[in-house]
Symmetry: C2
Subunit: 519 residues, 2 copies
């Protein structure tokens, strides 16, 4: 497979030109922002929404949230909240006033403006898996630490697939790069290999500021232009229960002050860092998220903020986190109801507990993705490539997930269920009558080539044809596609001068020692 | 594995007793009729519903439906419909009057009354895969013709899993039994290995009458008792486009006259036997189904009838049917809206095009099952064990699907999203505060063991623990469970006298030559 791709690449311009048209390896669906037209699934009654809201407000008012960030404590004091040591208690009027300032949708404009995204409203966007420390692929066949090369390959998939709308965190942690300069190298790779909306980790001021600077440079923007609209975002997790740590809040404050977007995603694992009851875990998650969003809105009214959910349950046998479970699905749906109640865009995930890209991986991921659809999720993190509860990134899983994401994109297209006169086809049905078939008639011929979703990975041949073609199971097919996509990948265009400026920035910051690693 | 199970079986009573309690091999969820509380997904506007209804009525009024059944033609003539040769045209008033007679829900009571099912309303029931001619399992490793043994094993799974509510057609065609007597042997196996609601194929009067007789005997029922309420059902397909064949209609007429239930499921593959546009394929499917249901309601007002959908699309490359596609999902949802419009229970399927139980099989099946939930489907046919567009039955897939069905069952349980005071857990959150965890507190201890769904097949351990346990992928885990379930299976109790009467019936009907095979 790799040899074949190599041959093609050496073979000259045709494959290259095809790749530039995005049609080399597979025919994929066009870039677009899917519009989720399904009415959300709402397990909570109106009283249920009020009950969770009230519980969240009680948590904020009585238990309070610990902010391990001096600046934040000062701001809350300034805002008139009760600050006792590092515990902040805020009353519901303040929280609701602040949350009311947040927009219900916002844009993020990456260096390629064609890849601008709208976060919020009916839009449903997908991003790559973020932050696994480990990597697995079929060729290696075991779990190995992430490398810069593996990370770059997954970034190429992120760029290649039109159904991936934004770049998340590192698709795998390149632990072969020292932590002090990792963000510089990976962001250089990210910004040169992709042109989609970019993420910065809130892990110390140097990282956040460096990444903002690199995104500004890559976009060829002045500081004023950079700040004029969101060009990137950060995603933070609280340290559940009821705590926000120093660097995450610091990073967000730096981001919003320069006009960038933040996503606040508590990781409330029911029975571990949150109550064993799902409504309780959701209420705690809401409280943790709103406390940070209130801070950001006080500092910068109207700052683009999204609320994230990562409420799931643990395996009762091992204590390991489980994902895509019935409890996960209902929690995500409940949080969707709460996000609409607060008027905030919602982030959830495409996740699973499975260790390899097999049937379990796909039913769990499928459950997660359906929960995202059902909850009205706007940003689906980890939508491609995630295994082992987020501890492994896998290119096969990435390709398999993209097949599923394309199907969701197609599912959202209104022409699938259009009921115009020609769609109802009463004349065609009369024409064919009781003994014919529809293959040859004009109504079919006119529509056939675009009538149905065409998968790039699913094998729809019968058993015999599939067997004759080598009896290849899905992960192996995905592996072949992965190798081919990487072999024929062409990076999106970037001005040489900008590329040089980026490289110079990286070199200078490396010479300065990068970022401290004592976090 | 097999050896181990064998040892256990020989080992004596403990495993046997455990099996009788249903807890031997796995701990599964209890038998219950899941209540689908999700609001259906409705892609059609009210005008869209009217448009499809009007198209279906136009088809019935103008194109007409071909009935290759003399008796049906006579009945339609008697009812005042236009009968031209074998084409029946019926006006919408007649159709709607007849369809209005059908109940919106009905029961089926099998020989074990604890396994009575309610078809319709909010209930969502699952049945085994039906009618594949071929069989595949991991041990055999290739596609082979079905046998009586394979069929019996799949029947054991049908009985074993509480999440399977009714027995469909033969879970695999036992082609090692001559077609003339196949129904006698398989029904003997079905009725002795399972005690769930039973199906009869409408393939000639002998088969239907024999199966009804065997169900009557197995239930220890007089003819009057048998007819007093539905004890079984048949499922028929139309011969799309716009045709019903002789034996299927004949079988249904025999069934409803003895008070039994029928499901009418057109198989309208868009672009082949139906228009390439999904709304057209759905309209045609509705017309075909309603024409038969109208007939049955004319003959026996109030006869228990369900409407089925099997509208999908073909692979544009090979012409092979595809399942679990975006088009399939929307068609199923649209048909759900139409079924509610007509007040009829709905049947759909858990299906896929994949040839082996891998990732593709599970994302396609997952899509099918979510479409069933979203459409308000009442009977999910083929919900466990289906591969290759229904041409292969697989025990691994059966076990994998049951894991998914259990998760759906759990998903439907209202306690997952309960918002009572104790669920909101505000006190527990205050108790744990900002530095603790929820593992040890009383609120967790009181609820922990039943708080979350516990899978029997998903492996939620981390990679290292999973690897240490042999790095077993999902299909292989399913295979092991399958072998163990079969090894420890104990048939449901049946009186010796009834068993003997059944055997005598089979012997007598075999001696008489069984059923003709010239269909």
């Amino acid at each position: 497979m790799a040899r074949q791709s190599e041959r093609r690449r050496r073979g000259g311009g045709r494959a290259g030109a095809a790749a530039r048209r995005g049609t080399a390896v597979i025919e994929q669906m066009p870039w677009r922002l899917p519009v989720n037209i399904d009415r959300p699934v709402e397990p909570l009654t109106e009283e249920g929404v009020q009950a969770i809201h009230d519980a969240a407000m009680q948590i904020l008012e009585k238990a309070g949230i610990c902010f391990l960030n001096e600046e934040a404590l000062g701001i809350f004091r300034d805002a008139g909240c009760s600050v006792d040591d590092d515990i902040v208690r805020m009353d519901r009027d303040f929280v609701m006033e602040m949350v009311g300032r947040a927009p219900d949708r916002f844009t993020i404009t990456p260096r390629n403006p064609d890849h601008e995204i709208i976060v919020g409203g009916p839009y449903m966007l997908f991003g790559n898996v973020s932050s696994p420390p480990n990597y697995w692929d079929l060729e290696i066949g075991r779990k190995v630490p992430g490398t810069r090369e593996a990370c770059a390959n997954l970034l190429k998939l992120t760029q290649y697939f039109n159904c991936i709308h934004f770049a998340g965190g590192y698709p795998v942690e390149p632990v072969d790069i020292h932590a002090s300069i990792r963000h510089l190298d990976v962001l250089f790779d990210k910004l040169t290999l992709t042109d989609k909306a970019m993420h910065a980790y809130s892990l110390g001021k140097e990282r956040v500021e460096d990444v903002m600077e690199m995104v500004r440079i890559a976009g060829g923007l002045s500081e004023e232009e950079f700040q004029a609209r969101p060009r990137m975002y950060t995603n933070i997790n609280s340290t559940s229960p009821l705590k926000h740590d120093q660097p995450m809040i610091d990073g967000c404050l730096r981001m919003i002050r320069r006009g960038q977007a933040v996503v606040v995603t508590p990781f409330t694992l029911a029975g571990a860092m949150a109550p064993v009851t799902m409504a309780g875990a959701v209420a705690q998650s809401i409280a943790e998220a709103l406390s940070a969003i209130a801070l950001f809105q006080y500092v910068r009214p109207g700052a683009p903020c999204a609320i994230g959910t990562f409420t799931s349950n643990v395996d009762m046998k091992s204590g390991a986190p489980a994902f895509g479970t019935p409890e996960y699905m209902r929690s995500t749906q409940m949080t969707g109801q709460m996000a609409r109640f607060y008027g905030l865009p919602l982030r959830s995930s495409g996740c699973c507990a499975a260790n390899v890209p097999d049937g379990q991986a796909m039913w769990e991921t499928s459950n997660s993705l359906w929960a995202a659809i059902q909850s009205g999720t706007n940003m689906v993190y980890h939508a491609a490539g995630w295994l082992e509860g987020g501890l492994i990134a896998s290119p096969e899983k990435f390709v398999m997930d993209c097949e599923l994401l394309q199907q969701i994109q197609r599912y959202m297209e209104p022409e699938v269920f259009a009921t115009g006169r020609e769609d109802l086809a009463v004349d065609a049905i009369r024409e064919v009558g009781h003994n014919g078939h529809f293959f040859g008639i004009q109504h079919t011929q006119d529509r056939y080539s675009k009538a149905f979703y065409q998968p790039f990975l699913s094998d729809w041949r019968n058993f015999e044809a599939w067997e004759a073609a080598g009896a290849v199971w899905t992960p192996e097919r995905a592996h072949h596609l992965f190798k081919q996509i990487i072999a024929e990948f062409e990076a999106p265009p970037m001005d040489d001068a900008i590329r040089e400026e980026l490289a110079d920035f990286v070199a200078r910051r490396k010479a300065e020692g990068g970022a401290p690693t004592d976090f």
